[in-house]
């Protein structure tokens, strides 16, 4: 026979004004097994908790019901208190007499009081059958996988590696650095980005605890927090970088010429190429899709093209290389998947993708790069002429819910101001027009940066949306309106720069599915809570950083990347992970192994034991939601301490009372 205690809280007047707490204590004291009952104004306060602790010690209670607010508020508080004086925390239950009683029967004290007693009685009956439980410990692999080697991935990886953890970076492209490698200068301080970035890339490459997989993607993901298995698929480079000296003879002989993605199509490259032509650190790779050896084109003599192989004195090129699959075991994952530039071809009214002198912001960055396709000279892609009039169009594809993206891409106002200022510094007799809807310059020194551009560098800001861009002779006509003066304008431009929207990297949708991470309507990875859990994904152990989560600038991206590193280090500060034991359990002799629960489990926690031919519960993954219990046709699973037997008993208590009334 258990010795039970009941503690009734007034919650100030929240409960006491409509529930007669003294009467409840009198009634509760009469209930089967109750050896102690009392009430107090705030049971969750320190003296209130002390009362619970004292009674457990003095009366030797082995079951406690606290009648107060929702268990979501203070279940943990009281269980912790009980644990401190030696009562197994799982033998303490909350009877919710506030949200489910006093608040809903505020004007009917007799009914509220009787109902409070019923709730307490039913909860006591549950406690009688509760088992003392221990928390579950899960092994923790203190290695991290970072998906994406842009600035977010690099910063997160370096921080974690410096903290002593092994990190694996998976990068889709043949080099790390991401879009930041394409950008010339930072705002608002005009720092040279390539130098800043190269320092970080060198740190990554030299770090003993960082492994980088280039030209690689996540093929498969298994496991759960603390224990993930990532299968990595790597495209071959076809060039042995240990042998290659970077002499460049292969570039000269390759007959292929395709637009260079890294330079946003402003230059051409061969099928064998340096991903970033301006980076002497990079060695050549072959893109299979562009290479004639792999397409069915044969040379006149009937042989497949292998000019680069013949040209290579070091015999570094192996056209027979195949893709490889490797496995890495990690405990946490950082999703730093980044963004794509929304294609200018989506804006035919601006001639995007059609007119050579209409380019996107990232292409303009390539023009600004001293190691870029023009050696850092701002010239027109069509004829190499220095543009004397440039129109920058902000919100190109952003903030247009009807046709494009509804959201603001956040970085464009600032990088456009930066680009226009850099243009003015290079072409001092040129005019820079900026078409804008609003100017969003809401960070430190941002507003000053824009103002300086307007006042000191004479940037012409025009509030309005551009209607149309079309060629006339060898200039571009831009139709727009100045909505502040209410005038229609026609501007003759030599170059038009579109500040295109950012969109989630292609392929993220599929990747998110593999990771069981939710995405929002625009395809960005969703955090658990925008304010309080901003870097946690919906899957435990998977964290988010950078533009894959939402558009942002480098400052915010790095902050978020370092936040993921902090969260992961907090997790890694324990030797094992602890999980709640209130989860599903299988009666092995009843389960028939039908597998319905496996399909229904939203967390992937149910697994078939192939040897026993029954369904098991992965204790580390189960969240105790109860979906499998409802679905099981044989009643072979139960939720620990919330068994059907316990619930039926509680329902009986209520229906018994109802019959009596």
């Amino acid at each position: 026979m258990k010795k039970l205690g009941v503690f009734v809280c007034w919650c100030g007047s929240n409960i006491a004004s409509s529930v007669d707490v003294e009467q409840v204590v009198v009634q509760a004291a009469k209930l089967d097994g109750v050896v102690h009952a009392e009430h107090y104004m705030y049971m969750c306060s320190d003296p209130g908790q002390q009362k619970v602790k004292d009674a457990i010690k003095e009366k030797g209670l082995d079951g406690v019901v606290v009648a107060c607010c929702s268990p979501r508020m203070h279940e943990n508080t009281f269980r912790k208190a009980a644990g401190l004086v030696g009562l197994n925390p799982f033998l303490l239950e909350i009877a919710n007499i506030r949200e489910q009683c006093s608040w809903v029967h505020a004007n009917n004290k007799p009914v509220a009081t009787a109902k409070a007693v019923s709730i307490i009685e039913a909860t006591l009956d549950k406690v009688k059958q509760n088992l003392p439980l221990e928390t579950i410990t899960i092994p923790l692999n203190k290695r991290v996988c970072v998906v994406g080697g842009g600035i977010a991935g690099i910063m997160s990886a370096l921080d974690l590696a410096d903290a002593g953890y092994e990190v694996v970076i998976i990068e889709k492209e043949p080099a790390i650095g991401g879009h930041v490698a394409q950008i010339s200068t930072t705002f608002p301080y005009f720092q040279k980005l390539p130098e800043l970035l190269q320092k970080k890339i060198d740190e990554v490459n030299a770090h003993p605890r960082i492994t980088v997989y280039l030209s690689s993607e996540v093929d498969e993901l298994e496991g759960y927090v603390g224990n993930f298995k990532v299968t990595i698929r790597t495209r071959p480079a076809f060039v042995d970088h240990d042998k290659c000296t970077g002499c460049g003879k292969c570039f000269e002989v390759c007959p292929v010429s395709v637009p260079d993605e890294f330079n946003r199509g402003l230059s051409q490259r061969g099928a064998i190429f340096r991903y970033n032509q301006g980076s002497e650190h990079q060695l050549p790779i072959i893109n299979r899709d562009d290479c004639l050896h792999f397409s069915d084109g044969e040379q006149e003599n009937g042989e497949k093209c292998q000019l680069c192989v013949d040209a290579c004195a070091e015999q570094a090129i192996d056209l027979g290389a195949i893709r490889s699959l490797q496995e890495e075991l990690v405990g946490a994952i950082v999703m730093a998947t980044g963004y794509d530039v929304y294609s200018p071809a989506n804006l035919p009214e601006y001639g995007g993708g059609r007119l050579p002198d209409v380019i996107d912001g990232l292409a303009f960055e390539r023009l600004l790069d001293p190691k870029g396709p023009t050696g850092g000279r701002i010239v027109r892609p069509s004829d190499g002429r220095v543009p004397k009039s440039v129109v920058f169009i902000q919100c190109a594809g952003s903030r247009d819910p009807e046709r494009h993206k509804a959201y603001c891409s956040r970085a464009c106002c600032m990088y456009t101001a930066k680009q226009a200022r850099l243009y003015k510094r290079q072409v001092d007799d040129g005019t820079a027009y900026i078409s804008y809807m609003d100017i969003r310059s809401d960070s430190r020194d941002f507003e000053e940066f824009v103002q300086q551009g307007m006042e000191e560098e004479n940037l012409v800001y025009i509030r309005g949306r551009v209607a149309k861009v079309f060629p006339e002779g060898d200039v571009l006509k831009v139709f727009t309106a100045d909505t502040l003066s209410g005038r229609q304008l026609e501007i003759e431009a030599d170059l038009v720069v579109l500040a295109m929207a950012m969109e989630p990297k292609s392929g993220v949708r599929e990747l998110a599915k593999k990771m069981n991470v939710t995405i929002d309507g625009d395809g960005f990875l969703s955090e658990t809570h925008i304010k309080l859990y901003p870097v946690e994904s919906s899957t435990k152990g998977v964290y988010l950083a950078g533009c894959g989560q939402s558009p942002k600038d480098i400052t915010d991206t790095v902050s978020q990347a370092l936040a993921t590193s902090g969260k992961i280090q907090t997790m890694f500060s324990n030797e094992t992970l602890i999980a709640d034991p209130l989860i599903a359990e299988v009666k092995e002799d009843v389960c028939s192994g039908c597998g319905i629960c496996i399909d229904i489990c939203p967390y992937g926690a149910r697994i078939m034991d192939d040897f026993k031919r029954i369904s098991m519960v992965n204790q580390a993954v189960c969240q105790g939601c109860g979906a499998c219990i409802a679905a099981c046709p044989n009643k072979a699973c139960e939720l620990i301490n919330s068994t059907s037997r316990q619930f039926i008993r509680m329902v009986d208590d209520f229906s018994h009372k109802a019959q009596m009334a």
Binding site: P348, E349, R354, K468, F470, P471, E472, K477
Partner: protein
């Protein structure tokens, strides 16, 4: 193949040549335009005010008549009729409340079953431009054509869906099938001034001037259109333009069906070119589209 056909008012009067040529060409291409009996005006403008239901009762009746006649496709030639009928049908299909209000009022059972099609769409989707090309007996080789879309054939794109809104190509593809050469000109989807021509003629004149100049600057010999109002503005405003701009040279503006008829070998004498203000015959002759 028989299509229920809605000519609309203008095609019985000012735009007769659009209608005549369209009907004759359909016969040569192996489909029949079966004019709806007792048709009424489509309303000529789609009611943009939400609670303005009465103006949609006319087009709804036309759509319901089509359904009762046993046809599921209704063909139009006029851009305005096409726009009004198509958008009314969109309301019938997507807005249950408004549909119920209108159909209750006109006492008809109609749920948007009819498919409203523009003649160009029939050529593209049902006949096929490849097939059309084979039926051409007199390819209009060497003729440079500015394909002027105007607004109503395309917009609003979510309700009309004929082609992409900002850079459509259906008209150019059509012109290529006739053997002529479409010219790319940036004003192909600009507004002609439309009804402004009634009370602010200078607006329509200015709009028309910019469109025509853009077409000519890009090498066009002739402008084609599907819309009686566009044709009117672009053609009839030219003397006005010349008054303010002595350097302005005229350019003929014809209906697409007239060009189609020429390519199918129909005699120019039957095509009503004499009703054009700027005579197309000299250019068409010079380019060999018409043999003397």
């Amino acid at each position: 193949m028989k299509y229920p056909y809605f000519p609309g008012c203008t095609l019985y009067t000012k735009a007769k040549k659009l209608d005549d040529a369209g009907r004759e060409c359909s016969r040569r291409l192996g489909f029949e335009l079966d004019e709806l009996p007792d048709w009424t005006c489509c309303g000529a403008t789609f009611p943009l005010v939400n609670d303005y239901h009465i103006a949609m009762s006319g087009p709804t009746r036309i759509l319901a008549d089509t359904k009762d006649q046993g046809g599921n496709k209704l063909v139009t030639l006029c851009s305005v009729c096409f726009n009004v009928l198509k958008r009314t049908n969109h309301v019938m299909r997507t807005d249950e409340e408004r549909r119920a209000k209108i159909t209750d009022f006109i006492e008809r059972d109609y749920h948007g079953e009819t498919e409203v099609m523009h003649y160009l769409q029939v050529l593209r989707d049902d006949i096929g431009f490849d097939q059309l090309k084979e039926k051409v007996v007199k390819p209009l080789e060497g003729l440079k054509v500015a394909c002027y879309y105007g607004c109503l054939l395309l917009r609003p794109v979510k309700e009309i869906g004929l082609d992409v809104m900002e850079n459509p190509t259906i008209f150019e593809d059509f012109v290529r099938a006739l053997g002529a050469e479409p010219v790319e000109f940036p004003f192909k989807i600009e507004c002609c001034g439309a009804f402004q021509t009634v009370h602010s003629m200078e607006v329509a004149t200015r709009c028309s001037r910019d469109i025509l100049n853009s077409a000519k600057n890009n090498g066009a010999d002739v402008v084609i259109t599907t819309c009686p109002l566009c044709q009117f503005n672009l053609d009839d405003r030219q003397p006005e333009i010349q008054k303010s701009d002595a350097n302005f040279t005229t350019i003929p503006v014809v209906y697409f069906t007239q060009l189609l008829a020429l390519a199918l070998g129909i005699s120019p004498a039957d095509l009503g070119f004499e009703r054009n203000l700027v005579d197309p015959l000299p250019v068409l002759q010079a380019k060999g589209a018409i043999s003397d």
